[in-house]
């Protein structure tokens, strides 16, 4: 099952997928890492929590799904996203060494690869590829939004770091609307969290500050949503799966800051310009696809090349909605801060929505973004996405939507077989090409 971990240099003629927004994204992420490193340095100098002085008051790990980063920002606490730690390791082809270390500790080969790699990374000193360090948590914010594995991840982090842990227990969404009891249950927990964050940060809560942050978040969300909408153009200026991952960093780290808003303004400008010039995200767009589930980060570029070779552009993706389904209209509301944070966590992110709602979301993408096909990248060790992917394939196929189902992993390179993956893509797109282009006037 293991092929040599090399990407095929010929596949897409050495395509570099870099635009202005990639450079800006790097800046934001680098600054964030530096700030985290600053907290780590101060922790080395003094073990006092909260940290004295101005600037960041500490660092708080939380999960991306329906994250409430605005609350941390209101106390000058920096977020740490363990998922970003893990994906960085994978994309830099460092995952396997950490996965093996985790397996030595007793982690099962098939447990969520993100958790395994991140735990080993933490225990090995948490040094990032940039040479910065991730600090010890001032608090672990276990935002249980959809994924039960989150709970395990944070229980393990708390076990090994001995940091205090606070759980936000978000009931799983059943219908389209949560009932009043659910909103109250979550909003009450947010109040408890605020009291705790005051202690952790040594700062008092200022609701007006939170409103300001939420206003900026709402603006970032508006822009992010507008960017997603540009993918409705033909050709699409925006790669809604691969490039979305570039944008997710700023969305989760700094959506509630002026810097975040600037990033999304710039990215939208770039997309609008491309629309004006008729420039697509892929050189010659021939197919428009929707992608379900996270990418194979250990083979990120090789996987992207498979799309590119066929002129396939992702026009929408569910993975880009882990942090929020903003393209369907939700915005944080500075006039109703806690309830809107609660609604974001309960309703407006892909992880807390049920499988049938995900089918509906994909159907909307296919229709409204005018896509030809669905690609399901079933991530073996992430059951939140993959448990049921066969049923999803059956559902879409029965609706006459061409569906490609491939399996690998988001962290573990051992589950990606480049040759097999290429064959699957080639066979699928050959058939799709026939369907789309050989029959006169027949779209899909």
């Amino acid at each position: 099952m293991t092929d040599t971990p090399k990407e095929n240099p010929k596949a897409a003629g050495h395509v570099h997928y870099q635009g202005r927004m990639h450079a800006l994204q790097k800046e934001i992420i680098t600054r964030w890492y530096k700030e985290l490193h600053g907290v780590w340095q101060r922790q080395q100098a003094s073990n006092a929590v909260p940290l004295p002085g101005s600037g960041a008051t500490g660092a708080v790990p939380l999960m991306i799904s329906g994250n409430c980063v605005e609350l941390l920002q209101a106390f000058d606490l920096l977020p740490v996203y363990p998922e970003i730690n893990a994906l960085q390791l994978a994309i830099r082809k460092k995952a396997l060494e950490y996965l093996l270390k985790a397996e030595d500790m007793g982690y099962s080969t098939d447990n969520c690869g993100y958790v395994k790699a991140d735990m080993a990374f933490y225990l090995e000193g948490a040094e990032t590829a940039q040479g910065t360090r991730i600090p010890k948590p001032s608090l672990i914010l276990n935002n249980f939004v959809g994924c039960n594995t989150y709970i395990k991840w944070f229980e393990h982090l708390a076990h090994f770091t001995k940091a205090p842990l606070f759980t936000l227990d978000i009931p799983f969404l059943q219908g389209e609307e949560p009932d009043a009891g659910q909103i109250k249950y979550v909003a009450d927990q947010l109040k408890d969290l605020i009291r705790l964050l005051e202690k952790v940060s040594g700062r008092s809560f200022d609701i007006d500050r939170l409103r300001e942050i939420l206003k900026l978040s709402a603006r970032s969300e508006e822009l992010w949503s507008a960017i997603k909408m540009t993918a409705k153009n033909n050709p699409s200026p925006y790669e809604a799966f691969f490039d979305a991952t570039t944008m997710m960093g700023p969305l989760y780290v700094s959506r509630g800051t002026p810097e975040g808003v600037r990033f999304f303004e710039e990215a939208l400008r770039e997309m609008e310009e491309k629309v004006r010039l008729g420039v697509g995200a892929v050189a010659k767009e021939r197919f428009r696809v929707v992608v379900e589930a996270p990418p194979p980060y250990p083979y990120f570029k090789a996987f992207r090349d498979l799309f590119n070779t066929w002129g396939a552009c992702s026009v929408a993706s569910t993975y880009s909605c882990v942090g929020g389904t903003f393209e369907f209209g939700f915005r944080h509301d500075p006039r109703d801060p806690l309830n809107s944070i609660a609604r974001h966590m309960l309703v407006h992110n892909v992880c807390n929505r049920n499988y049938i709602q995900r089918y509906d979301q994909i159907l909307r993408y296919i229709k409204e973004w005018n896509a030809d096909a669905l690609i399901i990248h079933s991530v073996k060790s992430c059951r939140l996405f993959s448990a049921g992917h066969g049923d999803m394939r059956e559902f879409f196929t029965s609706k006459g939507i061409p569906t490609l189902y491939v399996e690998s992993d988001l962290e573990d390179p051992r589950y990606y077989s480049p040759a097999q993956m290429r064959n699957r893509f080639d066979a699928f797109f050959e058939a799709l090409e026939h369907k789309k282009y050989s029959t006169k006037g027949a779209g899909v």
Binding site: Y107, D192, R383, A387, G390
Partner: protein, 388 residues
């Protein structure tokens, strides 16, 4: 073995292996009750019982069915119980039920619930509820009480019944008896493991997933008396705590193997949902609150329940000590995410405490037990030697 006990255990085995659910069908015909399936780990059976349903454990297909259709509905890293439960639905085995209730123990089971909703909604209703993963604070219990009331009201209405709090209190009383009998059986086993074998105890508990509670109570009481009357000679072996089979159940043959090689379980978490409370649930007051508070306050540790105030790891060490266990035997379903994750923390703490342990993974369709036998025998021998 007394003939009576033997017959009861044989009946349990027959009931739990019958994937046509014939006894459920005949109970419905006889009583006019409905039948409701529930997926593990914990489910408030009192509410289903009081609303006029026979609660039926939907615990996969064990080694009784072939998986031919459900495999293609999931990814490859999914535990057997999820696949075989889907297969039961797809092949019509569950048509005898009116509906199935799920809750969020793990990502696979949660998605299974919505696959049920999509694929079987014409013949089975699907109900889903949230068990708070937040042990502290009254808010969680109040929220859960609300969930229970919502489910009960809906289920009762489906049977044309008006809410009847006294009926729920009565059901709580019956399940209190059931849990009390389980506690006595477990205590007896811890004291005299040679007289209550793990496979036997497991069969008895499993039968409770099919039989009406009134009948199961009688069966448990009779068997308890029979076990008490037994006086097998203690055999060479070690006392172990068995952990990990809280959801998917290991083949009975694997449990029989434990007894055969001298690995005497003195406590376990097999079907822990049937034994969730260490005390009776109050039968007075608001029954929804009583059940919800009992759930939140229960000290029973489980891999599907987040309870940082009482870490499962420390609770395990306590359980080892209080049961005078010599080792821990982890029996996990292959691909069981909550279980296999917990193993890492358990291992860390057991090694700190110098408590020996062994891990065995199983699947429902495990046919050969040679490897497990060898591992268990070696483990038992090494421990016997160590304690000589």
């Amino acid at each position: 073995m007394s003939g009576k006990l033997e017959a009861a255990l044989a009946r349990c085995r027959e009931l739990t292996e019958d994937m046509s659910y014939a006894s459920v069908r005949s109970h419905k015909e006889k009583t006019g009750d409905g039948a409701i399936g529930y997926f593990p780990v914990y489910s408030p059976l009192e509410l289903y019982h009081a609303a006029g349903y026979l609660p039926v454990a939907v615990h996969g297909g064990g080694n009784q069915i072939e998986i031919t259709a459900a495999d293609s509905r999931f990814g490859s890293f999914i535990c057997s119980i999820v696949k075989s439960t889907m297969e039961l639905g797809m092949k019509g085995h569950l048509d005898v039920l009116d509906g199935v209730v799920f809750h969020d123990i793990c990502d696979s089971a949660r998605n299974l619930a919505w696959l049920f909703e999509r694929n079987f909604k014409d013949k089975l209703f699907m109900e889903y509820f949230h068990l708070p993963q937040k042990p502290d604070g009254a808010a969680a219990a109040a929220f859960l009480g609300g969930e229970y009331e919502r489910i009960y009201t809906k289920l009762a209405a489906l049977r044309g019944r008006k809410p009847d709090l006294d009926a729920i209190r009565k059901s709580i009383g019956l399940y209190n008896i059931n849990r009390g009998l389980h506690r006595r059986l477990y205590k007896l086993r811890s004291e005299r493991p040679q007289d209550v074998l793990t496979a036997e105890l497991s069969l008895l508990t499993r039968a409770g997933g099919i039989l009406p509670v009134e009948e199961h109570n009688k069966m448990l009481a009779d068997c308890l008396a029979d076990f008490e009357a037994r006086s097998n000679k203690p055999r060479d072996g070690i006392r172990v705590l068995v952990e990990g089979s809280f959801c998917e159940q290991p083949p009975i043959e694997l449990l029989e193997l434990l007894d055969a090689v001298g690995c005497f379980a003195v406590d376990d978490d097999l079907l822990i949902g049937r034994r969730w409370f260490d005390q009776d649930v109050p039968v007075k007051g608001n029954p929804f609150s009583a059940l919800a508070e009992a759930y939140m306050k229960s000290p029973v540790p489980s891999s599907v329940r987040h309870n940082p105030g009482v870490p499962r790891t420390e609770a395990m060490v306590q359980r080892v000590r209080s049961n005078k266990a010599q080792a821990v035997l982890f029996i996990y379903a292959k691909f069981c995410e909550p279980g296999l994750f917990d193993y890492v923390l358990f291992k860390d703490v057991l090694e700190r405490e110098g408590i020996p342990h062994l891990l065995i993974e199983f699947e429902e369709k495990m046919w050969t037990f040679d490897k497990a036998r060898m591992e268990l025998e070696t483990f038992v021998e090494s421990q016997l030697f160590a304690y000589d």
